[in-house]
Assembly symmetry: C2
Homo-oligomer: 334 residues x 2
């Protein structure tokens, strides 16, 4: 089983990005300093050196479909916040505010409250205000209990303390922050692999073992934003990459400049059991696992050698997973 | 036929907003100066008097389902931009940037390009940069040609030039900016009324008259942001309300302060024919028409009597539709 067979077309995704690139750039003005592909869009609030607004948007994919199976919506708001804020902090920005878009087949106030409560708790832990949102009821085009979520986050960064490719140097080390679960990526593949399991959970046929697996799948994402803000305040980071669609190495490549290669040692940590089980149950190739899931590293940090011990000691489970060399691959597995 | 019968539950919608109000407010900090119900969330970039960021989010509802019937996606991007930017300018803010979230059953690069081209053209006319976006492919949970859109806009306003309820005074006049079509509101009701028409368009059975009706339904929203920015620059407005869900009077009420009533004269303008036809074809009550559709006024401006002639002369089709009195109704039909 792979992502293509599960209905997610990565070739088309790349083509779509190519198709819109010129259209998007046609809207730019001199205040826009981002390009496609970064972890956030950057908009300068004035002349060079002025503070920069950073904006991100993301959804939780079809993890909502897995939540829907057993009506387990408690963690999905946190997933949405993590998807957006953990992208934002990869620029060094401090998040200011967040807005949510909730599309539902039927507007059930208790469901909306559950979703927003989870968002609010996650946002408060990162001092981020929820200042707006839209609840869109789509009768007929969505099933009554179907939900789709999108989030939007805006932060502010002083160019002097921004992190990113321009700070990365040969000799830097890569540290991984642990993710015990899938976060919010790869769920179309998960649904294809576990179609039987999910219907079993729904109609009560699932075994205890299957219920345990379902619990692991639906666990909310770790929110890295709070610790990331602390690292940024203490000037401990050169760059950071949030492991989302594409996997660890492809996301890390986005913050490694030309002329350097980040090399990741796959033996530096053990995969959380959900990933080994998924690989086995779905007969998924190692390559496919690597480009679809975080495999236990939800955030990769690029730090100077002098800061490795400090960073490792500041977050339980943080582990050194690689280093930066001269090279032309941006990022690769060793 | 009414909105409730079409599956949109306005009572639940109100309850959902009540249910999340305390949760949302629990995330606020002293920089948040908005409250629920305004046209945008407001976040102050510093101490009192500092510039204020304004953020809005909205979708296009199930107008995408009407677009899907005949594969007519050319105008939907503009609808999305209009829904977000025309809310934003009701605060007096100048839009800075926009992000889009596109959920699709299958990622078709040419469809994505059509959607983004329409957004980009609309955004350029309001000097707004498209700095980010997410394309979410949801195989299985959405039909291959199904699309949902959400947008997110951020602008900046100087508190000294902000518009809103605090500027409105008894004696002010209300001017309507014309909308020849439904913009992006009321489409769940439209789909219920015209289910047969829409399937006829899809399978080629529709008559020429039916095709004309379909064309009117799918027409893109007028984008008021460019003229609104000109009005704000010339200090011609006290307040403004974008006619979205809830209709003209309910949206206008959001910018009228306690102690005043905006009175709208329903005879001041003629409904564009699409609305009379819809009322007839759907046997929709006048009350329901008024709280569901814009009825030809997509933006209502509150202006001082001295500026009425200038504003009327600055936009083709602008018409005086009411005035502000002492009273306790915020807004009503005369």
């Amino acid at each position: 089983m792979d992502y293509q067979q599960a209905g997610v077309d990565l070739v088309n995704a790349e083509e779509a990005v190519k198709a819109i690139s010129a259209l998007v750039k046609s809207t730019y003005n001199p205040q826009v300093i981002s390009d496609l592909g970064g972890f956030g869009g950057l908009f300068r609030l004035g002349d060079e050196g002025a503070p920069v607004l950073v904006a991100t948007t993301d959804g939780v994919g079809t993890k909502t479909e897995v939540a829907r199976v057993a009506g387990r919506w408690e963690g999905i708001g946190q997933d949405l916040v993590a998807m957006c804020l953990d992208d934002l902090v990869c620029t060094g920005a401090r998040p200011l505010f967040f807005l949510d878009y909730i599309a539902v087949g039927k507007n059930e106030p208790s469901l909306i409250a559950t979703l927003v409560a989870s968002m609010a708790t996650a946002l408060k832990s990162a001092n981020t205000a929820l200042i707006g949102g839209e609840i869109a009821e789509h009768p007929g085009s969505m099933a009554p209990d179907q939900v789709d979520l999108a989030g939007f986050a805006v932060g502010l960064v002083d160019p002097a303390t921004a992190i990113g490719p321009e700070r990365v140097a040969a000799g830097d080390r890569i540290i991984g922050l642990p993710s015990p679960n899938l976060r919010s990526n790869g769920f179309s593949l998960v649904r294809a692999v576990y179609a039987d399991l999910l219907s079993g959970v729904k109609d009560g046929r699932a075994s205890t073992r299957e219920h345990t697996l379902y619990e692991a799948l639906i666990e909310p994402s770790v929110l890295y934003a709070p610790i990331m803000l602390e690292f940024v305040d203490r000037s401990l980071l050169h760059a950071a990459s949030h492991t989302t669609g594409g996997g660890l190495v492809n996301n890390l490549a986005r913050v490694i400049p030309e002329g350097l290669s980040a090399v990741i040692d796959p033996n530096a940590w053990r995969w959380p059991s959900i990933f080994t089980q998924l690989m086995e149950d779905g007969a998924i190739s190692l390559d496919e696992m690597r480009r679809t899931f975080n495999l236990g590293v939800g955030m990769a940090l690029v730090v100077a050698p002098t800061h490795v011990t400090t960073v490792l000691g500041s977050y339980p489970g943080a582990v050194e997973i690689g280093h930066v060399l001269e090279g032309d691959e941006r990022a690769r597995w060793s």
